[in-house]
């Protein structure tokens, strides 16, 4: 199933009757995602999406009665970590949290609960994941994808769309496109994503999109150098011209004390065998140069 989402995905949408939840649930369903349940406390017993999806009061019911194995959370920030922990402790294996502006200390606690439960969390503040032609769990526009064998992982939202569009325009399809989110505390890191792609028989090449700030890209690159040596790998880092000490929108994107700069990330990526693009539109060409034939 490529990684994290695919034909086996049985999705529960937490917050399905809210404005954002309903809008994106429709888009996901239209893409072909198997939405088996919705959860809105107090609306259990009703039906959503024109009578096609049963709504439950709790995630536990969605798991027991509808067989949900994956959750996407459209609950606003104030209740989002509670929703994440409910999913993790109700038997959901893979949880996507879209909300932004979640307090970092709340997320710290939630990530610990998810880990203890043996579940996987993607996000928060992320666009989700799409396995083209199979399932879309999140808000990435479905139209930009092409099924294929390149794994894409990114910290950004719209920058991911830009890169994926460039790949699709060049005829390079994707196995799974994953947006991990730009917050300081996230459930799935670049490194986690690379480990999943490395073990995926449907992925033959990697596109990694990062940003200034932190050292997550460097850690992922170091691992890839050792474990993905023969896989074609390309990368793009946003923020080459960003001034030091200024927070560029994403809570994560800040350069301090010379670490986390685009230059240091580019050097680490190149040393690990990645070809680093100067524009997202160069990614397809670099992937070909790295030996990708797909």
């Amino acid at each position: 199933m490529s990684i994290l989402v695919g034909r086996e995905t049985r999705l529960v949408v937490q917050g399905i009757t809210g404005r954002e939840g309903e809008f994106h649930a429709r888009a996901m369903q239209a893409y072909g995602t198997n939405i088996v349940a919705g959860v809105t406390p107090g609306k259990g017993g009703s039906m959503a999406l024109d009578g096609t999806v049963p709504v439950y009061d709790t995630v536990a019911e969605a798991v027991a009665q509808a067989g949900a194995n994956t959750s996407i959370i459209f609950v606003p920030a104030a209740g989002a970590t509670d929703a994440v922990m409910e999913a993790a402790l109700s038997g959901i294996a893979t949880i996507f949290c879209i909300a932004e502006h979640i307090p970092a200390l709340d997320m710290l606690k939630a990530v610990e609960v998810v880990r203890r439960a043996g579940a996987t969390l993607v996000g928060p503040n992320c666009p989700g994941a799409t396995t083209p032609g199979q399932a879309k769990v999140g808000i990435i526009p479905g139209s930009i994808h092409l099924p294929g064998r390149v794994g894409v992982v990114s910290r950004s939202g719209t920058l991911t769309y830009e890169a994926v569009q460039a790949m699709t325009d060049a005829g390079l399809g994707q196995s799974t496109c994953l947006g991990i989110g730009g917050d300081p505390i996230i459930g799935t890191t670049h490194l986690d994503a690379l480990k999943l792609f490395a073990a995926d028989p449907d992925t033959d090449a990697i596109v990694m999109i990062g940003e200034i700030g932190g050292t997550a890209e460097e850690e992922a690159a170091a691992w890839a150098a050792e474990h993905m040596a023969h896989m074609p790998k390309v990368a793009f880092i946003a923020g080459r011209t960003a001034p030091e000490g200024k927070r560029m929108g994403h809570a994560g994107a800040i350069i301090s004390g010379g670490s986390g700069t685009a230059a240091s990330k580019t050097a680490a990526l190149e040393a690990a065998g990645f070809r680093v693009a100067l524009s997202p539109t160069q990614l397809p060409k670099l992937l070909r140069e790295a030996g990708y034939k797909g």
């Binding site: 954002e20 920030a77 104030a78 932004e100 502006h101 979640i102 307090p103 970092a104 200390l105 709340d106 710290l108 606690k109 990530v111 610990e112 666009p127 808000i139 990435i140 526009p141 930009i144 990114s154 910290r155 950004s156 939202g157 719209t158 920058l159 991911t160 769309y161 830009e162 569009q165 730009g182 300081p184 505390i185 999109i209 940003e211 200034i212 932190g214 050292t215 997550a216 850690e219 793009f236 946003a238 923020g239 080459r240 011209t241 960003a242 001034p243 200024k246 560029m248 929108g249 994403h250 809570a251 994560g252 994107a253 004390g257 100067l278 524009s279 997202p280 539109t281």
Partner: protein, 394 residues
């Protein structure tokens, strides 16, 4: 959100931590009055510190001692109005000058790599801790607090003994635990004491005693949590907030002014940074970073346009929207409306792709707005427009 030393110290006091008394003064006369009171209490000297939210104020001459009320007034007069890294000093902190025996460093930080609150302590206080970390990493002791359990007493003890503070075990443990509490109670990302100091002072019988105190404090609060801390939101220092920054914050727009002449309006932080990078690469200079955020309703577009045009250096505008949650036609309508109301006319290049891009293209073409299909094309058009515009003005 960064807060001033005086506010940071209030948060530590609220947890019962030892912080010497201070006064905030906005005028030399007020600083004099504060100094008089301190000196009358038997102290030899006062310290006067610029209250600014940028580092390196000591090196910039923003921290000075005074031995008399007259001197305190003169020193405060010199510091108030001083420019420190672009910030004009509007207030100073006045406190008794401590008789320092030894300085330490202690901080609680939110560490994204380990996804833990980490306590970092060092016997090399008063120094630039990043330099210590780079040159002598073994001089920094670390303890990770559990997300649910917090910092346990044995961890605090291990840290304190490691820092060589065994002689002040009880107080040091209380301070270490208190830093983590300060972080949790206020949703801070950073609580830093530099220096944490052993000071010498007169005991109850007049003979000298040593005591461990927090001499300086730096706290950064999590912006995402301010909504549940209305009391802390009031600590935002409006003296140091640029008017454009305030407008951006209130509109939910992420905006950072830069030095160039091409105004950028983009949705998404990563794409906004990429757009800036490509402008620079094409030989242009971005005037700002601007992430309009998700949704991008037309009133937000208008506000973003006003922010960009408030910078007189802007000679061209580049709009780059990849519609996902944001709908292209809404952005296009917002742009057209904003353009009708804008104070001055500046060439604009618009690229809108993704959700409802066709409808957006129709709206823009009807209004004869220059459009581009690809990001690279949009960037080169904007750079050319800025050059032509700058040439015309010269």
């Amino acid at each position: 959100m960064k807060i001033q030393e005086s506010d940071a110290k209030s948060l530590l006091l609220a947890r019962g931590l030892p912080v010497p008394a201070w006064t905030v003064a906005r005028t030399p006369a007020a600083a004099r009055q504060a100094a008089e009171a301190i000196l009358a209490g038997g102290e030899d000297k006062v310290v006067i510190k610029a209250l600014v939210l940028v580092g390196g104020r000591g090196k910039a001459g923003g921290v000075k001692l005074a031995g008399s009320a007259d001197e305190a007034e003169q020193v405060a007069d010199a510091i108030l109005g001083m420019n420190i890294k672009g910030i004009t000093v509007q207030k100073v902190l006045v406190a008794a000058a401590a008789d320092i025996v030894k300085e330490f460093y202690l901080a609680a930080v939110l560490d994204r790599k380990s996804q833990r609150i980490i306590l970092m302590g060092s016997a090399e206080g008063g120094m630039d801790i990043e330099e210590v970390a780079a040159t002598r990493p073994e001089a920094i002791i670390r303890e990770a607090a559990h997300p649910h359990l917090g910092l346990l007493p044995w961890q605090a003890r291990r840290l304190v003994f490691g820092m060589g503070l065994g002689a002040h075990l009880k107080d040091a443990v209380r301070i270490a635990t208190g830093l983590v509490e300060t972080m949790l109670v206020n949703d801070a990302d950073l609580v830093e004491i530099n220096p944490l100091a052993i000071i010498r002072e007169a005991g109850p019988d007049g003979s000298p005693v040593e005591r461990l105190v927090c001499l300086d404090a730096k706290v950064t609060l999590d912006d995402s949590a301010l909504g549940r801390h209305p009391d802390l939101a009031g600590m935002r220092d409006l003296d140091e907030e640029d008017p454009t920054d305030r407008i951006a914050r209130e509109q939910g727009i992420s905006f950072i002014k830069l030095d160039g002449n091409i105004g950028c309006m983009v949705n998404g932080a990563g794409l906004a940074m990429t757009t800036m990078d490509l402008v620079k690469q094409a030989g242009g200079a971005p005037a700002n970073f601007l992430d309009i955020g998700g949704g991008a309703r037309s009133d937000k577009v208008a506000a973003a346009m006003a922010l960009i045009l408030s910078d007189p250096k802007v000679e061209a505008i580049l709009v780059n929207i990849f519609g996902g949650i944001a709908r292209g036609d809404e952005v296009a309508r917002g742009l057209v409306e904003a353009r009708k109301e804008q104070a001055r006319s500046v060439p604009m290049v618009v690229r809108i792709v993704g959700t409802n891009a066709e409808a957006a293209a129709q709206i823009l073409q009807a209004e004869k707005v220059a459009t581009a299909a690809s990001l690279d094309e949009a960037v080169s058009m904007a750079v050319a427009a800025a050059r032509a515009s700058a040439g015309g003005a010269a």
